[in-house]
């Protein structure tokens, strides 16, 4: 990864631009080699779109510049437009659109589009952009339907353009290090047999979004034109069938994607339980528990996942359990450890400590010789010894994945979550809602993962 401009350097540079001291009035992008310049538009200016825009801006890449924003809601559209206007001296433009077709027809200088609209719009928006010859970074879930996701894969193949799906953990250096070093190189967990993961959120974090005082609603005719019955649906589309997929798709998709990535295969079956147990007027399940079965090259793996919207206990993490160790990882950098099973000799993990893959956690109780007889006691195991992960992400969570997308456009990297990978994850995750509704175990056929 190239050295990023520090915040201080950026502020000094920008101050120089404002004072007319920078390179003779050139815009930010104009100073970069032409081959590196990437002009982008933001399609969908809600909370997630703003997070992505901020992550891009904070990378301080002088060759990436926003030219336009599109959103049907004036509140978000105007906010992003005003933000972009503040960066006009950096080569940004602040043209705003309500209709994405008008934007694509008008903006002739675009190279790529960041799609952060509600899930049920992803397929149409992404396909339209690809057909215009534009690269696309599309937020997950790739689509709320398998048919939509399939069209996206086909459109990507036909266009030859880059299509990155927003499973950002795939580019997170910590996750990549866990995969490359701890699993592929060190095989530190032994044979992985079980996975446990969750994303639990408090009731308070899951309240419906409401139209705040001073916020103008979208006209009903516009709402209906774009697939929403009313502002309640627009503001809370994730809860509605036909628009989103509920928490298992919003949150679970990120983590279940990691299950398959780390195991190197897709699941063969899923059973699930869920329901609209707590929240009123929601269509998608607020609590979901799912169990996947994988058949890996090393044997079967059972993988549990739950997402709750009434209790935040233990937050969110993915926990991979093998016969020699456990790896607990989370997107939050303050959580991440590997635990050596008590029966595994400390010397076996010393080489990985020496190589810097892991480091012994301070204060960890390592099994004493006197405890070793407990190995023979089947009723209780020796406590696992903790080791800390040695790689962390201190940049915004989405930034590495976005930069992987831009570098793929530049031809210097391969996408970490191309269309086919995003499709397979969509197949894996959308099946959970089907399993809940049918109250039965569902098998995946190999051809389901193919387009």
């Amino acid at each position: 990864m190239f050295k990023k401009l520090s915040r201080r350097e950026f502020l000094q540079t920008t101050a120089a631009i404002g004072a007319g001291l920078y390179v003779s009035g050139k815009a930010q992008g104009a100073d970069a080699p032409a081959k590196d310049v990437i002009n982008i538009a933001l399609l969908g200016a809600g909370a997630q779109g703003q997070v992505l825009m901020d992550a891009i801006i904070m990378k301080r890449d002088p060759a990436i510049r926003f030219l336009a924003v599109c959103d049907i809601w004036g509140v978000n559209r105007d906010k992003v437009q005003k933000r972009l206007k503040r960066y006009s001296k950096s080569g940004f433009r602040d043209t705003a659109y309500t209709d994405y077709k008008e934007m694509l027809d008008t903006e002739k200088d675009l190279d790529a589009v960041i799609v952060a609209t509600p899930d049920f719009w992803h397929a149409e928006h992404t396909v339209a952009c690809l057909e215009k010859g534009l690269h696309v970074y599309c937020e997950k879930e790739m689509s709320n339907t398998i048919e939509g996701a399939k069209k996206m894969v086909e459109a990507q193949k036909a266009s030859g353009k880059q299509l990155q799906i927003g499973h950002q953990r795939r580019s997170n250096p910590r996750y990549r290090y866990c995969y490359d070093k701890l699993l592929q190189d060190a095989h530190i967990l032994g044979r992985i047999t079980t996975i446990n993961g969750q994303w639990n959120r408090s009731k308070d974090s899951c309240q419906d979004n409401i139209l705040r005082e001073g916020m103008a609603p979208i006209e009903e005719a516009i709402l209906n034109k774009y697939g929403f019955k009313n502002m309640q649906q627009f503001l809370n589309w994730r809860w509605y069938k036909g628009l989103g997929g509920g928490p298992i798709v919003d949150l679970g998709s990120h983590q279940i994607d990691i299950y398959s990535w780390f195991l190197g295969c897709n699941p063969k079956s899923v059973i699930a339980s869920g329901g609209v147990d707590y929240w009123k007027d929601h269509e998608w399940y607020d609590s979901v528990m799912a169990i996947y079965e994988y058949e890996t090259k090393n044997g079967p793996v059972r993988a549990f996942y739950q997402t709750l919207t009434t209790n935040s206990a233990n937050g969110y993490f993915e926990c991979f359990m093998g016969d020699e160790g456990t790896m607990l990882i989370s997107e939050a950098s303050n959580r991440g450890s590997v635990y050596r099973e008590g029966w595994v000799q400390e010397a076996k993990w010393d080489p990985w400590v020496a190589k810097g893959y892991i480091e012994k956690a301070k204060g960890t109780k390592v099994a004493e010789d006197k405890d070793k007889e407990a190995v023979l006691d089947v009723r209780e195991s020796i406590p696992a010894a903790e080791y800390k992960l040695t790689v962390e992400l201190t940049d915004p969570y989405h930034q590495p994945h976005l930069m992987n997308f831009f570098n793929a456009i530049r031809g210097t990297e391969k996408l970490n979550c191309p269309a086919q990978v995003g499709y397979e994850t969509a197949v894996t995750v959308l099946k959970v809602n089907e399993a809940v509704s049918k109250a039965t175990r569902l098998d995946f056929k190999e051809e389901e993962y193919k387009v």
Partner: protein, 256 residues
Amino acid sequence: MTNRIILVMTVLAALAFSGCAKKQPVDQQPAAPAESKPAAQAPVAQEPKPAEASSAKADVKLEPIPLVLPKPMFVGTPENLGNIENLEPDIKMSRPQFLAPAGVKNLALNKPVTGSEAEPITGTLSMIVDGDKEATEGSVVELGPFKQWIQVDLGSEHELYAIVFWHFHKTPRVYFDVVVQVSNDAEFITGVTTLFNNDVDNSLGLGVGTDKHYIDKAEGKLVDAKGTKARYVRLYSQGNNQNDYSHYIEVEVFGK
């Protein structure tokens, strides 16, 4: 000091402090497998005690300032804070009550506000003193990137004891280059008293700050105004750890 070391120290400190908290938040409880216990040498927080205004005289009756806190609201995925230098530990304890001479009140409520941007990205400057301290989007004023300031005109000179302000508390954030000044000069050229400054590299040009970065939360940031007499209160900032923008939900100035 490397980021790695800073992170480890911060985590250890946070773990140690959380052990003294009245109630540990459930999302901080160790997950299975259990996290290791904090290192013995990590600092230990003291039980919070009421803080007196530094200007208070022995013969003056003191009482807690009439501060009403908004509802806590951390949602979404908190960004990592491990790379922020000079960050004070997140002690996860309520701030002790701040004592000031009896009769102080919020002098800033509905007073005129000016700023570096007359037209913010979202909201209006008057919202900064409207009494609404909630974290929700309609309560937040957003100013653009780079150096920004807002200024409250208290109407006349007052004796000031505490300035409390909320940048943003929907997610844990750290705002940069936070400077709080008071003066009787509306242009802040003469008679300027700096009460808080964490601009450690003087990027604002107001002087090198020695105060620590902090995590904005529902209890706001309280700065001791030390009984300084002034009419105007000015707050500077320059972006935060998540984006380049400066945000203000509310500013309260307690004095008489």
